[in-house]
Amino acid sequence: MLLTLDIEDGRPLHEQAADAIRRAIADGEAEPGDRLPPARDLADAMSINANTVLRALRELRAEGLLEFRRGRGVTVLRRPDPESGLRAQLRDLVAEARRRGFTTADMTRWIEEES
């Protein structure tokens, strides 16, 4: 499973971890029915604490993407719906724009110009 993480992301780590895993599922790195790697390995790979990963996994379970099974680890239930995929992209875009000094108001104006 390929995970990509934003290096300059300033958001809380559990949100970043949830995003990375959500994105991996959306990209088909883990298919519905697949078992996710143990939280310990995910944490190792992302260089964060295992409890932070666990928090991210719980968030994804709450979204209905994951299922925790006793003794069988965490499995992927379904892919994120298109909206949450788009919103993840939007979150990235907003973060990127902020980094470059644009405000949300600028972005709203751009969206209106585009549509």
Binding site: M1, L2, L3, T4, L5, D6, I7, E8, E29, P37, D41, L42, D44, A45, M46
Partner: protein, 317 residues
């Protein structure tokens, strides 16, 4: 004469010379040796096993010849330079090892009338191992020449299957587990615990040890990141085998059966090293040394993509 033919001729000549060198001292020195001679020693160097003088060559030669023939075939049939280098290293190291233990045994027995009087100086072990290592290194230097032959493998397409996005760090993780080893390990632990309850710990210990060691090595977790490839064994994530990105020249996916890489487990062959826990899809890393590093792992495609993408980034530096 191409390099494969040269390898074949030289390696056969070497095998014959070493075989003669192993046998001749046994014949020349037979007047000064006890019969039988001491051939097995306890840790303190006191003999606890003997072999008749006539049988001694039959103890030494089959092992040498089996390994030598294997190396000759592997170096000739394999069409890459790494096959010749690895096989030549093996021929050198194995020859010195067998010559060393033969010399040590003959020396230890020399001028004793009964094999029980022989004493093996423990330091003999060191020069034999050191000599074998040096000979292996020399063999590698001698054998490591000539080009890979065309068609030795399907050419890997250089089109990157993955482009790294700027500002993002990519990590790939996967795992592999061997059903056979998991079952054997669990059975070992069960038998061990069972005998521990029913009899004493002395009886239970071997089964327990086998069970625990096999269980510990029955799974592996593989990770690819900007540092390279890392394989950690078992739930304890230890031992760890690392291959730095600088050592790797490319990655691909191939299907291998365990027999093709020498069996299950951690396998070193003349041109390949393998972490083989199950047959099937493997991540194959081509190292700069020309060797292949084969890791059996689930869904290796993206791992190979990431290695190649990281290598492509590196080539920009």
């Amino acid at each position: 004469m191409n390099h494969r033919k040269a390898f074949l001729v030289l390696s056969i000549a070497w095998t014959v010379v070493v075989t003669i060198a192993l046998v001749v001292p046994m014949i020349l020195l037979r007047e000064r040796l006890p019969d039988p001679i001491a051939t097995h020693f306890s840790g303190a160097g006191v003999p606890d096993g003997s072999t008749s003088l006539a049988m001694f060559p039959l103890v030494v030669l089959p092992g040498w010849l089996l390994l030598a023939v294997f190396a000759v075939i592997a170096g000739t049939v394999g069409r890459r330079r790494a096959h010749r280098a690895g096989s030549a290293a093996m021929l050198g190291a194995v020859a010195v090892f067998f010559a060393g233990i033969t010399a040590s045994t003959l020396w230890t027995n020399l001028d004793h009338t009964a094999w029980q009087d022989a004493r093996l100086p423990v330091w003999h072990v060191l020069p034999v191992l050191a000599g074998a290592a040096v000979a292996g290194f020399a063999g590698r230097l001698i054998g490591n020449r000539g080009p890979d032959e065309p068609g030795a493998e399907s050419e890997a397409d250089d089109a990157a299957g993955l482009d790294l996005e700027p500002g993002r760090r990519a990590v790939w993780i996967s795992s592999v587990s061997s059903r056979v080893l998991v079952i054997v390990g669990a059975a070992g632990v069960l038998v061990g615990v069972g005998t521990l309850v029913l009899t004493g710990w002395q009886v239970a210990l071997p089964a327990l040890l086998v069970g625990i060691v096999v269980s510990a090595l029955s799974t592996a977790r593989i990770r690819v990141d900007e540092q390279g490839v890392r394989a950690a064994f078992g739930p304890q994530r230890f031992p760890v085998r690392r291959i730095r990105l600088e050592q790797i020249s490319g990655a691909r996916v191939a299907r291998h059966r365990a027999l093709e890489v020498g069996g299950w487990g951690y396998r070193v062959l003349p041109a390949t090293t393998a972490i083989m826990l199950r047959g099937g899809e493997c991540l194959v890393l081509r190292l700069n040394s020309g060797r292949d590093f084969v890791i059996s792992v689930d869904k290796p495609d993206r791992g190979a993509d990431l290695v190649n993408a990281l290598l492509a980034e590196r080539s920009a530096m």
